[in-house]
Symmetry: C2
Subunit: 272 residues, 2 copies
């Protein structure tokens, strides 16, 4: 494996671009290949079996781009498919669950942690299991928030309705006296202002993207795989569907122009 090979990142859609942003902030000279499965998004409401199938297809697509490490930016895919990905891939695979859970444990003083995510992430209890593994006495309270993704995509970031929905979803977590809250879906950081307002300013919000980027750096350093280039790396973006406004939304997410954007035909994913 070569140090100049790209880091592969995949997500069910475009939410994973927030993870790309964290990685590029930390390691701007790394090359990136991103795959967003926009033709089949969302994963969070689908069965484990389907999420695993789609995740393996995404990984195989990125392997053909000679990636040196795979980041599973989608929390649902991390919760459901990480074990299978690690089994089939020989390169390192980093998901969102472990770094997010570690950071929550570090940040929590009272040992009471909240987790919000898609139905699939919450019903698989991936964060809860990881939190208990790291620190068995942690108290964990979880809540699926299925309307947060459509609200983020609708752009209702400071809308009264979004606040009311957040109040309903977070009511129980608030009553349980959590002091840190894992934003267990790459879309949720977009709504963090309202989430913070509703849950209270004393609760620390944990976005797995930042600790995941640090974990990627540690892995690459530990294996002598960090790119040594002094130039800014190249980022390439592949999506299985390019709906109208895609580029606009992606550029807003990433905060920079997207130059290399390609559509992947589904046949490329399903026929290996």
């Amino acid at each position: 494996m070569n140090r100049t090979n790209p880091i592969g990142i995949f997500d069910s859609g475009i939410g994973g671009l927030t993870v790309v942003k964290s990685i590029l902030r930390l390691m701007p000279n790394e090359n990136i290949v991103y795959f967003g499965d926009t033709a089949r998004v969302p994963y969070g409401s689908k069965s484990n079996e389907t999420v695993i199938e789609y995740s393996l297809q995404a990984a195989n697509f990125l392997l053909r781009k000679n990636i040196k490490l795979l980041v599973v930016a989608c929390n649902t895919a991390s919760a459901v498919a990480l074990k299978d990905l690690k089994k089939f891939l020989t390169i390192p695979v980093i998901g969102m669950i472990e770094p997010g859970a570690k950071m929550a444990i570090q940040e929590s003083r009272n040992g009471i942690v909240g987790v919000i995510g898609t139905r699939a992430t919450i019903s698989n209890r991936a964060y809860a299991n990881e939190l208990k593994k790291i620190s068995p006495r942690t108290k964990v309270y979880e809540r699926a928030c299925p309307l947060f993704v459509p609200l983020a995509e609708e752009g209702w970031l400071d809308h009264k309705v979004t606040e009311m929905i957040a109040k309903e979803y977070l009511k129980e977590l608030k009553e349980k006296n959590i002091d840190s809250l894992i934003l267990g879906c790459t879309h949720y950081p977009i709504l963090q202002d309202i989430i913070q307002k509703v849950i209270g300013k004393n609760v620390k919000l944990i976005d797995s993207g930042t600790p995941a980027a640090h974990l990627v750096e540690d892995y690459l350093n530990g294996r002598q795989l960090r790119n040594q280039s002094v130039h800014q790396g190249i980022s390439e973006f592949y999506v299985s569907d390019v709906p109208a406004k895609f580029r606009e939304i992606a550029e807003r997410f990433l905060g920079r122009k997207i130059i290399h954007l390609h559509k992947v035909e589904l046949e490329e994913l399903t026929n290996e």
Copy 2:
């Protein structure tokens, strides 16, 4: 073609079961084969190109079940892919747009019609074009309501938040003095109580499912293809993903037990 061959119905997910219900109420002795593309749902936020590809795959799958007529129960697929489906298929193809538009024209007294639907349905202007074709002097006002589907799936049918969102979405249509409103998405009839309350009781809500079922009956009668059996027909259901709670939601939608439920592998759809 044999009279006993089944009617094929497809939808992006399970919303189309409301159309199955209308058809079975009218023609209980017909055999039905339903395909719901639950592994790739929703269609309403995806590109035209992808919606056309998925629709042709669904149609080909149902053709292999020897269907005598195809009903496109998904409004997005009807709006985007009907022309292509009619081009490639030799059996009759019935979408939601034409019957819904016809019924709205019949029901409207002031000639001012509202249409709500997914982003794809509204941006393709399928209902507006059909309404103008039938009655050029009709005034048409349209609004995409992307949060209605997740709200219906969350089951928040009489929730204060749903009412607030409906008020925001329907505000402009209400000001335009519409007297009939096309529910241009198979999920929306589930929210009809709140929609009716918000838009006002003098506005007639048009659900394309019922007129589409009548159009199916006319087509079959006109081509001597109505099943003559005196027994209740058999309904078979195929889905590309079976998430937890699928059967429960589907049985609530349809108001009857689902006996023949099968999972279709994506390879069956993509490799023809």
